[in-house]
Symmetry: C2
Amino acid sequence: MTVAPRLHLEDVFRARRVLARHLPPTPLRPAFCLRPRPAWLKLECWQPTGSFKVRGATNFIASLSAEQRRGGIVAASAGNHALGVAHAVAILGGNLEATLFVPTTAPRAKVEKLRAFPVTVREEGDTYEEAHALAVAHAGKTGATYVHAFDDPRTAAGQGTVALEILEEMPEVGTIVVPVGGGGLIAAVAAAVKDRAPQARIVAVQPEASPSLRESIRQGTALLDYAAAPTLADGLAGGIGEIVFAHRDLLDEVVVVPEKDIEEAIVDLIAFDQVVAEGAGAVGVAALRAGLVKSAEDGRPVIAIVTGGNIDAPVLARLLQRRY
Amino acid sequence: MTVAPRLHLEDVFRARRVLARHLPPTPLRPAFCLRPRPAWLKLECWQPTGSFKVRGATNFIASLSAEQRRGGIVAASAGNHALGVAHAVAILGGNLEATLFVPTTAPRAKVEKLRAFPVTVREEGDTYEEAHALAVAHAGKTGATYVHAFDDPRTAAGQGTVALEILEEMPEVGTIVVPVGGGGLIAAVAAAVKDRAPQARIVAVQPEASPSLRESIRQGTALLDYAAAPTLADGLAGGIGEIVFAHRDLLDEVVVVPEKDIEEAIVDLIAFDQVVAEGAGAVGVAALRAGLVKSAEDGRPVIAIVTGGNIDAPVLARLLQRRY
């Protein structure tokens, strides 16, 4: 097993200089759905692609050499990273050929948006891991650069820029609650926050269907593959990356939420905040409303990063119908 | 009948200088729900209060003299203007007493958010017009300043700042589609756009249940009261103001949309753009998707202002259920 590098505040600042021209800060809003708790929502679901993934993809692709650009890029994604890559290709310009492997099980909301971009979409494999293997093979065969969705310092540093926005707008934040799939986001957020605002606690949240980070910590080894059960938080299903494992000492809590709480959080976000969140994006709110986050109990301000909003309308219809 | 003043680009620029410190521009995003038309959504539903009304309220309240502030303020609103006033009171600081009359029929999504602010909410009257009469009486009795929801140049000039953002981001815009209730927004948008980008057409949209602007133009007199039929676009129901009537020569089209199209637009915005719009906010998209906007047929870029997002979750559940 290789040991992944640690990220530093410097890496995240450097990514921010790259992104500044392309992605304005997302709103930080009081969470009506968590009242009367002193809680805020960092609305990454309002990024142009509907998720934070566009930060990392833009930072990665901006770093390519002219030669790498000529060779093209390839990525695998449950949907949001692919959208991030496609958007980055569109805004960074140039003649960059991008091939995106997306599993056949990806939400339609994500795949339909992808079709609007000048990229090649290949719906192959049943899971993220299978799409990843196909994409890596494609890179080997064609010489294209593989843009990893989470386990690359350039991707992760880009995701971490969300932490700089949070700290500027609310330096006194007590707890930041972060959804974890591959873990690129939380690794960079933790690196930046623990340097800049060490009083703030970092809480990881995963769905009960895919507690790969908790299990990795328990077993003392990064579970890069994890056989997840079906979950509304499709974007978080599967194994973690080496990078988040290398930053596990910076995490104050790892929380696991049941499906039922994720459902309720998605409905609450619509009902009280008029925010469309996908399952993966709602796990932080789910953990807070269910009282599962110990760090949030001391009355200091809490921020839940709502990482994405690309949920299929029929799923949303079914969830709303259960309550109303 | 008094003749309302004309608004000028200068008034809108002045309002913008007031708002700049408080309200960042809202996103202008490609409309996935209107593909393949060259259409964009101006997402005023993502304002901190969930609607554009916060622009006008903030501009009005920032203009109060110290003496007026001591006397307090009063407003009437179907919900969104009240939220705008409440938010302005919160961000502009000082000890400003605000009393807000909201009809008992207002959506719960709006009233529940209002309770989070340090204002007095009085749910009285069955319609906006009744709440308005009560608020005017309250102003007369107490000496409080009445903050009109649309028929005041300070309010309207604030709303018009949305046009400056549009013109800066997309100076080549061909058509701007604007929902019309009282008409403060479209009056100021038209004044600014026809000065700055006279090639752009301004299209007014009202629900079939409340075509008060179309009827006012037909009759040659501003119908300040209008007995609207029930409509999903509750925020647009009722009469228009003098101000929009004084600007009617700047409007290129006045379009009226059936309820069914408003329903479909709300669902499409959720399904394709993951945007929660209330009925009033969705009428522009409704008119475009139904092919009712003649100006939009020449292939030049079209922008629909999605004015607000405060819709009740049970209503949304019912609409989604009809399709899925």
